[in-house]
Structures are given as C-alpha cells and as structure tokens.
C-alpha cells in the first residue's frame, strides 16, 4: 500500500491507539493536517502551541497514556518548548510532532526554520529528525516506546515537509527490534543483593519513613504501596509530584514534605533512621539544605533511572527498578521494621502540635484562599481532578485538597511553569470526560494561558477554573515580604484588570465573582451545576496570606517556619 508520509504519520498514530491530539497547523506541517480530516483521531485546535503542550501533559497525567501534540516549524515549535521542558522535568510521557522545512532547505535559514531537535536535545528523552517517509512509522513507534517505558518523558519527532509529502510503502514495526534502538534497554533485572540489603536495613530500623515520589504514580504502584505501608506500619509522605499516590485520609499519611510541607512530614524525615525513597529524586524543594537533610538516616533509593542514585544524596542501598516491582519484592521478603510505637507516638505529637492551619475566615474581609480551596473540595464529588499553576495557589491546593486516588492531582513540579493549570485542565478533561476537573489557578498564572478558554468552549470541554485573585504574583510577593524587607518590586498585578468575569464571558464561558463568604458558597454551588460550558470564578482573596509551613530557600528543614499562630507555643 502506497501512502504519503503524512498519511503514514497519521496511520502510525492510529496504530499507537492515539484518540486525541492537541495542535495548531502551519506551513511546514500542512501536509499532515490533510489526512487528519479522514482520521478517527480527535484534534483539539488550540490558540497557542504552549496550550497544546500543556493539554497533552494534562491528558497524559490524567489517563496514564502518552499525550500527543502536533505543531508547525519555527515559532510553532519554539512555542511548545516550555511544555517539553516541563514534561522532561516531571517525567511525563509526551510525543510532540513538529513540522520542519523541506530537507533541501534545512540549514539555509529558510522561512520558519529552526533547529528544534538541537533546541530540545537537553529537554527531551530523545528526538528524531526524520529523513525519509519510509522511516516515519519507525520513528513514531520508537517515540511512543521511549516516551512510555523506563523513566517516561517527552520525545519529539521533527518531520520535514518533503518527507510528509513524499510516497512510502506502508509498513509498521511489529517488534521492539524493529524500532532500531540498540542503545535503549529500559528493562532491568531486580538486584537480589540490593533487595537483601534493603531488607536488612528495614529490619534494623526503628524510625522509618516512606518517601513517595512521582515515580510511584508513573509506575502505577499505589496498590503495592498501600499493601507495603499497611503491613509494615511505616509512616508515608507524598511529594508534590506524588499527591494521590497514597490516600490523604489514611492515618499513616503525614502529607507532603518539603519547603511547604506538613510539619510532621518534614520533621519525620529529619528525625528518621531509615528513608525509603520510592521514585523520588531528592529535589532541593524537598531536601532544603542537603547537608542537613535527614542527617541521621540510612537511605534506600528505589528508582528506574540509575543516574538518580547518589546524584544528590548517597544511597546505602540502591535498587534500580520501577517502584511497583521493588515493593512487591520487598513485600515478598516480609521485611519488617522493629516496633514503631515510640516512633508513631513522636509523630502524633508533632501532628497534634502543628497541624495545617490558617486564620479563621471572617465575613468582613477578603476571602482566605485556603478556605476557598477547602470549600470547593468539600462540594466536589469524589475523584475530582485538580490542576494548578505554580505559586501560592499551587501550594495551598497541594496542602488543603485531600487526594484519595492517583491521577487526581496534576501540576507542574520540577519546572514550575506558570500558566500550566488551565490548559492542563483542558487536557485532563478530554482524557477523563467522566470526571469533574477543577483548575485551582492564580491570577498571574491564569493570564499566561487563558486564551485556551476559547478552545475549551468551542471544543466542548467543560472545565471549572477557580482564580484565587489576590492581585499579586503571590509567591514572589511572599518572598519579598519575608526576605526583602517588604520591598515589593514588580509583583502587583491588579484585582480589577482584567475583568475576569467579562474575560470568561467574551470567550463563551460562564464568569462569576465572589468577594465574601456568602458569594463564595453560592458561586461554587452554581459552578457545580454547570456541566456544558467552562466556568471561571474570580475569587477575591487576601494578598497578605502566606503559605505556611515554610522552609526558607537554602535553610535546613530543621528550621521550618510554622504558621504565626503556632509560634512560641
């Protein structure tokens, strides 16, 4: 069967089971958009390529399947660089297809030419510049294989215009060997010695902590984690990237560690004698000053990526494995720590003394952002998916929303990409139309990608957006207040401009505003009744609210600052 390269590309995506792609056409990718008309694949037409990338990420994180984006060459390609970098930092499986100028024009500074494989070399797991139409199926199959196996990540396929226009004899690789990846071996055998070493450390431990990272979600290990944690009775902390991997309602769960982590979670790590890292990477936002991090602890480090071992923290036992397989092996060994009663008693005292708290909301002042989030959560159905941008609102959402299952918390962790939340919510809702999707956003983040509300309205993707509008770049404001003597430099946005209600309405969405507690309850109820169009709510919140607990940048986690009302107690 003779096909054009473009037809072969679309057919290859169908072979991979792709049901949705996010994209925006342009010159060099034009040939690919023609056979898309005849395909069963749904194309979501975005308003900016960054939106396509973040939507694909949201889709991937909500479904566990790779997200796919298609954009054109030059600026189309560079506009999606931020989502690619974001997916690289958070190990999100993504396949990004970019158009490229014709092979004969490459290197001539042709119109809309840019070296996107060069640009994305350091922020993709791998990328391909496809040289012939005959090679396209292999590139697509290999890209999906790379994106989804081992440590997942973004893969980019750059397709020159003449490649998509020329003819090929249709074929599709049927075995991994045909992907032609002689240097790629994602499967590793469990090292029995390492397991035995871990068992010995566990058996000797009296104060263990399970430090659960995003790799636990990526390897779908929640069930194994629950079984292991319940059998061993160990305390569990879930990082920002792992929220939802272990139920927040579980009494062994201490919550999130790190810069804005729960006091008990942060302190349990500091005082533990054994830290079992499950798909976590000792990020600086978790460790604080590394030399002071869990200084008395032995470390068991489980990761599929061996380059994570000893990168930041020396491991006493390193187990190269996906988290699920390692937990199964550890469970099979019946590894059990010594009595944890004294340890739990200590932890409970921290939880009692320093629970998550904020000032009581009152009726005569601006809304408390934490209370807004808790109020939305209280009225949300189980399984609601929450996305966020980056900043204070993100931390409050991670702290105050109670996550009970995997895939319900979607945010930008490693890269800290403002504007991620809204397009990610669209992608999540496309992937999980059965779920309610709330984007908890900040006013700064919202303005970075909010043009995609048009996409959501036109494509019939009814997300709900809660803007915690404090009129500031809130996290920067918090740092300037605390560490720069309240010298506020370029952080004031405006509470009134843009008019978020009119913005929403101009884009065909429902816009609402809440300035007090009564309005807040009403608009949330109203938003929950709307299931056909996107809803945007402008919650006017208090800009003086700060995220606590907090460990200052570069400080030891021992010097955690609790909420002012808890100090001196």
């Amino acid at each position: 069967m003779q096909l054009t390269g473009a037809q072969a590309l679309i057919k290859s995506l169908e072979q991979q089971g792709v049901d949705t792609v996010f994209g925006l056409p342009g010159g060099a990718i034009l040939p690919v958009y023609d056979p898309l008309l005849d395909s069963s694949i749904r194309h979501i037409l975005v308003r900016h390529e960054q939106g396509a990338g973040h939507m694909a990420e949201g889709y991937a994180l909500a479904t566990g399947r790779p997200g796919v984006a298609i954009v054109t060459s030059g600026p189309g390609a560079t506009n999606i660089v931020t989502p690619i970098a974001n997916a690289h930092m958070d190990s999100t499986p993504l396949v990004v297809i970019t158009g490229q100028v014709a092979t004969a024009s490459i290197g001539t500074d042709a119109f809309q030419e840019c070296d996107i494989t060069g640009i994305t070399m350091g922020i993709t797991k791998h990328n391909f510049l496809v040289q012939s139409a005959q090679e396209l199926p292999r590139a697509v199959a290999a890209a999906f294989h790379l994106a989804t196996t081992g440590r997942p990540g973004p893969v980019l396929i750059d397709v020159p215009k003449d490649v998509s226009q020329s003819m090929m004899d249709w074929w599709y690789p049927s075995t991994v060997d045909e992907y032609d990846l002689p240097g790629y071996r994602p499967e590793v055998d469990l090292d029995e010695d390492a397991i035995a070493g871990a068992v010995a450390l566990i058996a000797a431990s009296q104060r263990p902590v399970l430090y659960v990272g995003g790799g636990t979600l990526k390897s779908h290990a929640s069930k194994e984690l629950l079984a292991f944690a319940e059998r061993t009775k160990m305390p569990v902390v879930t990082t920002l990237m792992a929220r939802g991997a272990f139920p927040d309602s579980h009494d062994q769960h201490l919550g999130m560690p790190g810069m804005h982590g729960m006091y008990a979670a942060v302190t349990a790590i500091q005082r533990c004698d054994l830290l079992i890292s499950l798909g976590a990477r000792f990020d600086d936002r978790v460790t604080g000053r590394i030399s002071a991090f869990a200084a008395g602890a032995k470390v068991i480090h489980v990761d599929i990526d061996r380059a994570e071992f000893n990168k930041v923290r020396q491991a006493d036992v390193a187990i190269q494995s996906n988290v699920a397989a390692a937990l199964v092996a550890l469970d099979a060994s019946s590894a059990t720590p010594r009595s944890l009663d004294a340890w739990w008693e200590e932890i409970r005292s921290w939880q009692e003394k320093y629970p998550l708290t904020y000032d009581e909301p009152t009726d005569d002042e601006l809304l408390r952002p934490q209370f807004v989030i808790e109020s939305i959560a209280r009225r949300a159905e189980p399984g609601t998916i929450v996305t966020s941008g980056v900043g204070q609102h993100q931390m409050w959402a991670a702290q105050h929303w109670k996550f009970e299952e995997p895939g319900t918390w979607i945010n930008s962790g490693g890269a800290g990409t403002m504007g991620f939340g809204l397009p990610a919510a669209i992608g999540a809702k496309v992937g999980r139309p059965d779920r309610t999707v709330w984007c908890i956003d900040g006013d700064g983040c919202f303005q970075m990608t909010a043009q995609e509300l048009v996409t959501a309205r036109i494509e019939g993707i009814p997300i709900k957006v809660a803007i915690l509008n404090n009129a500031y770049l809130g996290m920067v404001r918090q740092w300037q207040e605390m560490f720069y003597d309240e010298r506020y430099s370029e952080v004031y946005l405006s509470a009134e401009l843009p008019d978020y209600v009119k913005w929403a309405e101009a884009m065909g969405c429902v816009g609402m505003r809440a300035t007090n507690l009564k309005e807040m309850a009403d608009v949330i109820d109203e938003a929950n009744k709307i299931n056909d169009v996107p809803v945007v709510i402008d919650f006017r919140t208090d800009s003086s609210e700060k995220v606590f607990p907090m460990v200052a940048a570069g400080a030891s986690n021992d010097d955690i600052m609790v909420h002012p009302s808890q100090r001196g107690a």
Partner: protein, 180 residues
C-alpha cells in the same frame, strides 16, 4: 576596578583523577552534539575526545572521552551518558587498566644548518620525521600520553612550533576486567 582576566578554564594537562570512557554510539547525525551537550549541561569536564568509526561497522562509532572525574562523580557521568538513547555501550577504563595511546604532530620552523638539537630531541623521544622542507620539519610521535607530554615540553625550547595532539584512544589492558 580593573576588569578581571577572562576565565580560561583549567590550563594544566591531564587531570589527576581522569578516567577514560570508551563509548560505543550509533553512527547518526548529531550524536556527538548529544554527548557534548550532556557534558556541558551537567557541568562534566571533557579533557580530550576522539571519534572514529568502530571496527568495520558503519553503524557504530567509538568515542573515547577522557573525563575529569573530579568535576563530577564518574558514576553520575556514566549514568547520565547511558541515558542517551544513541549510546550503545560504555566501557570505563581506569588509567591502570588501560593501554592508552595518542598521536602528536608538530611542525618546527628550522633551517637545515641548525637541526642537530632538534634531531637529538626527536631521537630521545622516539619521534619520526614525516615531512621536511628547507625551512621546516614535521614530526610525529605515536605514544603514551606521558611520552607525548614529554616531547611537547622538549619542543618548547624551539622557537616556532605548531603542535597538534589527537586526544587519546584506549583499550583494556590484557588480563584486566573493564568496568561498564
């Protein structure tokens, strides 16, 4: 305040804690850029680098990288390098476990009448003359990095020298088990 001298990096020769990575890669466009980019990105120092097709296969190339194992732990360098999809195999050769050789070429401007000191130097080093004309001599030494270092130092006493070194290539010393 006077502007600081431009930073030229470390100018001394072979680092004390160097390791040789013999890296088999797919012979594809951009592979060298991927390796160089990785080293730059992660702050690993490359001391020398040599690339050539591997054995008779057009499909693979062998990259011999001398790395400064003080700039980053070797385990980290190997682990990150191994994640490059085009990298097929990495052999880590500690200097004591490897046979290392390097090629040095130098052109020395010297007229016929005054060549005796040069010829002595070349004789001592075991270097060969590979090209001559009335005003200059081009010499070659294939030897250990230390031998090349010695010749390079010896040639410093001659006025006008243009010198090139290839960077080393290496194979495991027989009877030693290389690390991977």
């Amino acid at each position: 305040m006077a502007p600081p001298e431009p930073y030229l990096g470390k100018t001394d020769h072979t680092p004390v804690h160097h390791h040789i990575l013999s890296v088999l890669v797919e012979n594809k466009a951009g592979v060298l850029a991927r390796i160089a980019g990785l080293f730059a990105r992660r702050g690993f120092n490359i001391y020398s680098l040599a690339v050539a097709p591997a054995e008779s296969h057009a499909r693979f190339s062998r990259v011999t990288i001398v790395v400064d194992a003080e700039s980053a732990p070797l385990e980290q360098i190997v682990g990150q390098l191994d994640k490059l999809v085009n990298v097929v195999a990495i052999t880590d050769l500690a200097p004591r476990d490897a046979v290392e050789r390097e090629l040095l070429l130098a052109t020395i401007q010297t007229d016929v009448a005054n060549r005796t000191p040069l010829l002595d130097t070349l004789g001592n080093a075991g270097a060969a003359i590979v090209d001559v004309d009335p005003g200059a001599v081009t010499v070659m030494l294939a030897g250990t990095p230390a031998a090349c270092d010695a010749l390079e130092r010896a040639l410093e006493s001659f006025a006008d020298v243009e010198l090139h070194r290839t960077g080393r290539v290496a194979l495991p010393r027989l009877g030693h088990e290389p690390g991977t």
